[in-house]
């Protein structure tokens, strides 16, 4: 999840610049299939050189949105503009976008080189230029020795690179990636994520990726749009999505999170979050649209501290006590499952309504003896600023 942001990258935020001209504009786009609304009145701007991720579970409309940009589906309502030109009704073969398919869709009757050359041949480029570009693309994905092979003579990872090379060979304004790494194993997927980022910077293209893998979206994207039932829940850079989710849905979809149900109250000029489960009220940051009422306090497991002793009370600290229910040793970290009850839980007749919070603790020393063990009574505490209050 960690992302190294260079100084140049950090400054890249055209979406915050009111003068920036978007490359792709979805303008009130709706797509219905019979009674089913796949995409519901979506408006979105994507900027040049941006790496944009559409993230959501299957059936949320992310693939339909991408297919409408590629031209395979026509919007029921609304317009799609590419570089200021309305492309809504333009057939796919005229659009200056290329797509890398989830299945790779490599032509099985053509060699690797012919697959890469396919798009270039459609433009009737001179033969010499085509072969030069194919060489360049083969070098880019390090597949020069495999130029004459057929796709079925390649490994999954190699096929993925051919598909990538083929889709960038025409130097499209926008490259669409439909679950591009879905078929690769975990290790290869992680390597390829970084290669994709390198490639995007090297080529200076705009990448739009569709994925259901939140880690993948976090790693590669400049901005993520979290989709749910045909609409956007939140569009923001990865760190914002992770640290400042705006709804329970986004908070739950990205990473692991603890959610405490309760309510927001106004106490003087401050806003407090109160819950029966908490030892005392927590002061929360007063964001403009925060109003008193039922809400959830969301805290990431790594932001919880676990201790045997009662932490000092204070307005800037949240505290809750419980019993260690389970400890998951993951190697690098241990995850403590703390049941918010004073009595140790009992497997046979457990009250499932009692919440269990998860606290991640880095295993900074070699594990010889745990200071905290099963059924210990413990305290969980956190800085008030570490929690996010969600009313949606």
């Amino acid at each position: 999840m960690a992302r190294t942001l260079g100084p140049v990258r950090r400054a890249f935020a055209p979406w915050d610049d009111p003068d920036a001209k978007p490359l792709i504009q979805f303008d009130g786009v709706t797509k219905r299939f019979g009674d089913f609304t796949a995409v519901d009145n979506v408006t979105l701007n994507i900027y040049e050189r941006e790496f944009f991720a559409l993230l959501g579970p299957s059936g949320c409309g992310k693939t339909t949105l991408m297919r409408m940009l590629a031209g395979f589906d026509v919007p029921t309502e609304g317009r799609i503009l590419l570089d200021g030109v309305d492309v809504s009704g333009m057939p796919p073969h005229r659009r200056p976008v290329n797509m890398m398919f989830q299945s790779y869709a490599l032509f099985p009757h053509m060699s690797v080189a012919d697959n890469i050359a396919f798009g270039l041949k459609q433009d009737n480029l001179p033969r010499g230029e085509i072969s030069a570009r194919v060489e360049e693309m083969l070098a880019l994905v390090k597949l020069e020795p495999f130029a004459r092979r057929k796709p079925d003579q390649l490994s999954g990872g190699q096929r993925q690179r051919v598909a990538l090379a083929r889709s960038v060979a025409k130097r499209p304004k926008v490259l669409l990636l439909d679950e591009p790494l879905g078929a690769l194993d975990k290790k290869l997927r992680e390597e390829t994520q970084f290669e994709l980022m390198d490639l995007q910077e090297k080529l200076g293209m705009t990448f739009l990726i569709v994925t259901h893998d939140q880690e993948e979206a976090m790693t590669v994207a400049d901005r993520i749009a979290v989709m749910n039932q045909g609409t956007f829940e939140q569009i923001a850079p990865p760190a914002t999505i992770y640290e400042e989710p705006i709804s329970r849905y986004v908070a739950g979809f990205i990473g692991d999170i603890n959610m405490l149900e309760g309510g927001v109250q106004r106490v003087g000029t401050d806003m407090h979050f109160a819950s029966d489960l908490l030892a005392d009220n927590v002061v929360v940051e007063s964001v403009p649209d925060l109003s008193p009422g039922p809400a959830a306090l969301a805290i990431r497991p790594e932001k919880l501290r676990i201790s045997l002793d009662e932490p000092p009370a204070g307005p800037a600290t949240g505290r809750v006590s419980g019993t260690v229910w389970d400890i998951a040793y993951m190697g690098d970290v241990s995850i403590f499952h703390v049941r918010l009850a004073d009595e140790p839980g009992n497997c046979e007749d457990m009250d499932h309504s009692v919440p269990i919070l998860r606290a991640t603790v880095a295993n900074t020393t070699r594990l010889v003896e745990r200071p905290i063990a099963w059924d210990d009574k413990v305290w969980l505490s956190w800085d008030a600023s570490a929690g996010v209050v969600l009313s949606r």
């Binding site: 031209g71 057939p91 073969h93 032509f107 009757h109 396919f118």
Partner: protein, 319 residues
């Protein structure tokens, strides 16, 4: 692991392989024995008759091998066999023309069947998957009635005062006194062959088109290829196994076709099947008709072997 002697590791496996090898050989032996008895043996008889001479007798050829008359008589009989029938076939242009005409008619019909069958198979493969079993059923349905009756029914359609003429007259395409005279022409034979052999073309075509990944067509268009060109550079090349299989399945039986040219063709429609029939039943010249059959087999062996080789290569490629 590397220190282990190889034999101790592979022993149980190789034993299992040996026993399954025996079972496999037995299993393969069954169809081969079948072929030997029901194909090779009758062929040997035909081949032997083709070397005999015609006679007014039962059976109508000489010599008839009879071991009861002693070994010398048998050897004399064997020595009487000759290539005479074949030289006779070569001498009469009727036979050569029949072969050429048969192959030509079969070739043209195969091309026509492909032209009709491809859109049909393509439509089936693109149809919603819930429709496909029904469409498949409709293709196979004609097999439920006799082939002979179905070809016969075409006489009713194609004859000058038949349904085709009535239909065209009703639509006003031709005058009320005009007639469409298709019956008794090569065109009627083409219609008959295309109609009868269409399922053999459609089924392998459908199999290869249905297997095709729809995203390949999208990928081609995404890369700037217009739909019609996509059809030629992606769909057709990927359907080639089906096209070849379908063409062979139509061409090979069409060359020897007898019923269709006899019922729908004219007196000038030369096809080897008819010639063979005439020699056998009208002239009662078994030796010559056997020779005609043997030559037909030789003519067909080239495409049959080509088809077999192609199929084998396909299967190896699939592995």
């Amino acid at each position: 692991m590397t220190d282990l002697p190889a034999a101790s590791v592979s022993d149980p496996q190789s034993t299992a392989r040996a026993s399954s090898g025996l079972g496999r050989r037995l299993l393969i032996a069954v169809p081969y024995v079948w072929l030997l008895i029901f194909f090779l043996a009758p062929f040997a008889i035909v081949l032997r008759i083709s070397f005999s001479e015609v006679a007014i007798a039962i059976p109508p050829y000489l010599p008839v091998f009879d071991l009861s008359e002693g070994w010398t008589a048998f050897v004399e009989d064997v020595q009487r066999l000759s290539f005479e029938n074949y030289t006779w076939l070569a001498g009469d242009p009727l036979y050569l023309n029949s072969y050429i005409s048969s192959v030509t008619i079969a070739f043209v019909s195969t091309v026509l069947t492909l032209l009709v069958g491809f859109p049909l198979a393509y439509g089936m493969a693109r149809a919603p998957s819930s429709w496909r079993p029904i469409l498949m059923m409709l293709i196979i349905l004609p097999f439920w009635t006799s082939f002979l009756i179905r070809v016969y029914a075409w006489i009713g359609i194609l004859r000058p005062e038949g349904y085709l003429t009535i239909f065209a007259q009703t639509l006003g395409l031709i005058g009320d006194d005009d007639q469409i005279r298709l019956l008794g022409s090569n065109a009627a034979v083409y219609i008959g062959i295309v109609y009868s052999y269409l399922p053999f073309m459609v089924l392998p075509l459908y199999a290869s088109l249905e297997r095709m990944d729809g995203s390949l067509l999208e990928a081609a268009q995404d890369l700037g290829c217009p739909p019609l060109k996509t059809f030629w550079v992606v769909t057709v090349p990927l359907a080639i196994p089906g096209i070849i299989a379908g063409c062979f399945l139509v061409f090979i039986p069409a060359v020897g076709e007898f019923v269709i040219p006899d019922l729908l063709g004219g007196s000038d429609t030369l096809m080897i099947g008819r010639t063979l029939w005439a020699e056998f039943f009208s002239n009662r010249d078994w030796p010559v008709s056997s020779a005609v059959a043997v030559i037909l087999l030789l003519v067909l062996i080239v495409p049959i072997v080509a088809f077999q080789t192609f199929q084998q290569r396909q299967q190896e490629a699939m592995r």
